[in-house]
């Protein structure tokens, strides 16, 4: 349809705009780490090489390695040592969070929205989704962690490049008439999930991730091939909002039935889910007390 084509074009334009911006600055590292996550044969060397090319990231990694939490006996002086000390898997996450966090670093609060809050939300979603993966689905969860961090990245793009329209949609949402996604659709012709999809696709991130991000508000529109990640994202997103962690301005009401269908589709028990949610809350408050969030 004409509308769709137009929509796609503006989307593409938006994505192109991001290429010259700071958003794109994280692209290399993020896609690199995600590639490592998805490659079972990747080594410490590979991770080290990715981190090394980003001075602020390297600095942060070393600082972390030498922090009280990791309690190294000797001063950690290089990335390789840091990778070994902190742990290959942990460091993947740390580096990823570190990098993505960079684009969320604006304090300005507009209509209850701020990037910081969005970041908090994204981290919570990432952690919860990973927990679900590990405890219920017995999967490692590195990839969904990354997806969690990135799932609302579309909003950043909108905020940065279509600021007025974005504010407009925020307005529309806060007036209470519709969900944020619908408001966006109204204003832009697409919502932040679409933007996220386009962006991550543009970055050549894995198909599953791209799809999950794209459909995280519209789970049952997801092509049947990649349901798990999308479903998990949805329910994690949903719960975090419900729990009031970070930014919660996505919808005014929750559709319980869809939520339940998703749980069923994943084979998740409510009870189990509740337990995991409890642990999430614990983890979030622990991170808050350590000043990480």
């Amino acid at each position: 349809m004409g509308l769709n084509e137009g929509r796609d074009e503006t989307l593409i334009k938006l994505v192109e705009m991001t290429d010259d911006s700071e958003i794109s600055s994280i692209k290399k590292i993020v896609s690199g780490i995600i590639a490592i996550i998805n490659n079972p044969r990747s080594t410490v060397q590979d991770l080290k090489e990715i981190i090394e090319i980003d001075p602020p990231l390297s600095a942060k990694v070393l600082k972390t390695a030498n922090s009280a939490y990791y309690a190294s006996q000797r001063k950690i002086g290089d990335i390789e040592q840091a990778v070994i000390w902190i742990g290959f898997d942990e460091l993947k996450e740390i580096a990823l969070s570190q990098k993505v966090c960079e684009i969320f670093a604006k304090e300005e609060l507009v209509d209850g929205y701020s990037r910081i809050l969005l970041w908090k939300h994204s981290v919570a979603v990432a952690i919860l989704a990973k927990m679900i993966y590990r405890r219920e689905l017995r999967k490692r969860g590195d990839d969904i962690y990354a997806a969690g961090l990135l799932h609302d990245i579309g909003m950043i793009a909108e905020d940065q490049f279509l600021h007025d329209d974005f504010k407009n949609s925020l307005n529309k949402f806060t007036e209470g008439k519709m969900s944020l996604a619908d408001a966006e659709f109204d204003v832009f012709g697409y919502n932040h999930a679409d933007v996220g999809r386009a962006l991550t696709d543009h970055w050549n991130l894995p198909r599953e991730m791209v799809t999950a991000i794209g459909y995280h508000h519209d789970t049952f529109g997801v092509p049947w091939k990649f349901p798990v990640m999308a479903l998990t994202l949805y329910i994690s997103d949903y719960l975090c909002q419900m729990s009031g962690i970070g930014y919660c301005g996505f919808s005014h009401k929750i559709d319980e039935t869809i939520f339940q269908r998703c749980l069923n589709a994943l084979g998740l028990e409510q009870y189990a889910f509740k337990m995991i949610a409890e642990d999430l809350k614990k983890e979030i408050s622990r991170m808050e007390s350590r000043g990480l969030l």
């Binding site: 410490v44 898997d89 405890r135 689905l137 017995r138 999967k139 009870y271 337990m275 995991i276």
Partner: protein, 579 residues
Amino acid sequence: MDELANSDKLSSKVLYLETKIKHLTNELRLTREEYKTRVKNYYDLYSNMEKKVAERTREVKELHKILGEKTGQLQIMLDSSPVMIFYKDVKQKYVRVNKIFSKIIGVQIREIIGKSYTELFPGNPGHLFEDDSEVIQTGQAILNRTCYIETPEGQRQILVDKIPYKGIDGKVISIIGFAVDVTDLRKAENEKNELQQKIIRAEKMEAIGLLAGGVAHDGNNILTALSGYLQLIQINIPEDDPNRGYIEGSLKASKQMEHLINDLLTLTRNVVSNKKIVNLNEIISDYISSPVWKNVKNRYPGVIIETKLVPDLPNIRGVPDSLTKVIMNLVINAAEALPESGNIIISTRNISIEKPLDAYDLSIKKGDFVVLTVTDNGTGIAPDDLNRIFEPFYTKKAMGKSGTGLGMTIVYGIVKDHNGFVDVRSIEGEGTTFELYFPSTEGKISEEKELPVKDYSGSGERILVVDDVKEQREILSEILTRLGYSVITLSSGEKAVEYLKTHSADLLILDMIMGAGYDGLDTYKKILESHPEQRAIIASGYSKTGRVREAQRLGSGQYLKKPYTFEKIGLAVKTELER
């Protein structure tokens, strides 16, 4: 109702636990897998590290090898050097030295490293050698400084270079040094200088000798004429002629001249002195009782002379007249050093020496010697003069003594001619001692008797006299005729050769030196070609040279030394004709 509630509680508890267990189990499984991956990662890392270490080790080994080679090369170079090389830090401690350094100072290398020179040799100052502070402070090199170090071989003189090695900031961080042991070099230089001095002295003496020889040769010829003619007069005039005394006096004077010329000739050391077995004690006693002695006493009345002659003094081989001359000259020399009064002691003793002695270019090896000492307590001789006292004319010119200036020179020459040794010790203001060493001999003293004229007259034998000097020919001819021989005289060797082609002679008397043409030897050789059995006598006023000896070897008999006396000629001719 309660039971229901309880069972609800229980089942919810169970549900909780079940879920918890499920979650934990899943986590555990995942963790276990992740753990495996992690271990593999670590293992990869470790292998990588091992590879790196192995490579690094290889590199290090390689470098070590190269370093070792280079060090070895350096060490060889350092140790091959004949120059001492050393390397010190700013604390003046030795960091490295080469072999020759260690060898010369006589300390093992490992004992040297880490110590300073002062630590190695406390209280043994090498001065410049030990102290580097000048170099360290000024940052300038010191080159070619002479200093002395004590070594097991004694004190050695060395030339030192010290060069500062500076760091990037220009401060001295170490010192490189080189030192050459020049002791032997200096010694050799000194010896060379001494030898050169000796040569100059010897050349001087030789020149004088030549001069003296020339004078003596002509002098002898003249004397021969003089003495010859006088002897003829002596024979011709009657016994009671009042002029006899004058003739005798003249002959005596002529004899004295002969002696003087003889002395001059001793300086040439070409003279064959007529040595006899004599005893110094006798000669000294003879001298004391001689009129010459009385003269000396008269001239120096304040002088008291004693003799201390050891009894049983061994004999020596010598020429009495020469030895007397020696004593006389030494006594006069001593007397002159006692301006108003004083003592002179002449003593003799017997000595055996073990080590060779060396002074005034004379030296004697170990053996038995008779020592003649003449000591005075006079004004003494200054050290500079002492070195040169035997130089001809030195005593006259430089020391202002009286006489010909040859007195000491003659003493020296006579001592040398007697294979002896002389040493002088003197302290200004206290006195002087001359010590003369003569090799002693086992021989016994012989007496010489003069033969009366009759015993050597001839009976008309033909004698051919060859001499380029007319007076010589005349005198010889007269003497021989007197003695009863028939004489022919010729003025050159060539003429003699010609003459003998057509004539014969029972005896030739050939002068050795005859101007530009044949000398005595040439003549004799030529004549021998046609007359291989020809008897001959060589006559010479000069010396028994190699040519004379050669002639004698070829067959000539006696050697007749001018000036002639009746006895000499008669004896020689008689002896030769009766051979």
